[in-house]
Amino acid sequence: MSPQLKRGFIALCYLLAAAGAARADHLYVSNEKDNTITVVDAGTLAIVKTIPVGARPRGLLLAKDRKSLYICTSDADHIEELDIATLAVTRTLQSGPDPETFALTPDGKTLYVSNEDDNEVSIVDVAAGRISGEIPTGVEPEGMVVSPDGKTIVNTSETTSMAHFIDAASHKMVASVLVGSRPRFAAFTKDGGQVWVSSEVGGNVSIIDVATHKVIHTITFAIPGVPAETIQAVGINLSPDGKWGFVALGPANRIAVVDAASFAVKKYLLVGQRVWHMDFSFDGKTLYTANGVSNDMSVIDVGDLKVTKSVPVGHLPWGVVYGP
């Protein structure tokens, strides 16, 4: 290679590296009422694009390779796959009726989808985009999560107020644990030792020991002056460092910050109205919340435990995912 060509090549490498560094990450918000996904630049917090999708988009998941986003389009009765590079919907996957929430296996090959209307969890082969099996579960299945080792699936059922533990290999139910009324969401701790289950009507979070399938603690919430019936626990996000649990309290307009070791509530953060779901930035330093009534997304500084910004998005935001 001539010295001139070599210099040109090095300059090109720098340019490409700079372009790569300049590409900010993004937030993807599902707007249940508008049938759209709002894409927000994580650096500037400006809206980059509003993408029309199928009817009533709710649950969102980033693919394990971070190249696509899966969207539960509930009233369209399927899952849509959004290509992150082009911001276009590239295909649909089967889901069973009325998909609301789902979970991905650690290898990214299988999705478990809760089908509220027919008391089943659908098993979706991601590559084929087809349902490969169904697991009968409790009445009105809702929350879905897969353990970090991929061996256990947990599904909550709203009417029966239970968290069902399902063996991922045999798809057999191994335990059903009674939790608070109308359980909505489940999250595993990083080590897989506990499952936190939120209950919307109960307004609490049950901590289940995975080894014994016993509730070892119930976190309750009380905010001075805020009516108890508005404290409806829904989304749970455990900080990547394992220190905090963040619990979205719906129409109480608060995020409870819970010490993950003692289960004590350290603080309540005032965010937008009817906050349901959240996601962390890749570095875990920022938490984003989707607020369904105020039609915005709140930005929380995890280090300071402070709400720093509110970003208007579409109508009835349901979920938010941080991605490239």
């Binding site: 008391n119 009968p136 109960g202």
Partner: protein, 210 residues
């Protein structure tokens, strides 16, 4: 056969879980509340506000400016942006030192007046809900009567059957019409909630607490 077995299995599991869950059943809700979202009877100041508290013992009714402001921007038909414009204009008429005392009281006035607006809507919704329940019972009873009456009846029996059918169809139409009204009306408490939150944020901005 496979589907029948699966259905029996699913129903069996559902029944088992429902019996087991009896101990933690959801608290009883108002049977006449027709909306999907849980009934929140009163909106509370603290749900929206973490700024300075109103001065102890202060009552917004005693300040005619706050009565006039809340009466102007709390009614249902006031658009959020118009309300915010009036609220901001009012805040800016206050000397800086007075804002931390008066603006929390202004929000207290807005919470009270918005609750009055919501009370009216909630009561109307419950009336509609009660009517729906009564219609559902009458439809059910007519359907039972139609099942009991032979479809090939003649004479008086046929005339009676035709009468029940006509009444049944009318009731079903009313049920659907009221259902549509309820669907739209259920959005109103949520809209009032959203507007109150927007007012709280506008006031927080004026106070510099946001």
């Amino acid at each position: 056969m496979f589907y029948r077995t699966k259905l029996i299995l699913t129903l069996g599991l559902a029944l088992t879980f429902m019996l087991a869950a009896g101990a933690q059943a959801a608290p009883p809700s108002d049977p006449d509340w027709p909306c999907q979202q849980r009934l929140v009877p009163r909106l509370a100041f603290a749900t929206y506000w973490t700024g300075p508290a109103p001065p102890a013992g202060a009552d917004w009714h005693a300040d005619p400016r706050l009565s006039a402001l809340s009466e102007a921007i709390a009614p249902r038909d006031v658009a959020t942006e118009d309300g915010i414009a009036k609220l901001t204009a009012f805040a800016q008429t206050l000397p800086e030192a007075e804002r931390a005392k008066t603006l929390p009281l202004a929000f207290a006035a807005l919470v009270d007046q918005t609750n009055e607006e919501r009370d009216t809507v909630i009561s109307q919704l419950k009336t509609l809900g009660a009517r729906q329940r009564s219609l559902a019972k009458r439809i059910e009873s007519d359907e039972a009567a139609l099942q009991a009456a032979p479809a090939d009846a003649s004479g008086d029996a046929a005339a009676e059957r035709a009468g029940i059918t006509e009444r049944h169809d009318l009731l079903v139409r009313s049920y659907h019409d009221i259902g549509e009204t309820i669907r739209y009306a259920c959005q109103v408490p949520s809209d009032l909630d959203a507007r109150l939150g927007a007012y709280a944020r506008a006031l927080a901005t004026q106070l510099g607490t946001k």
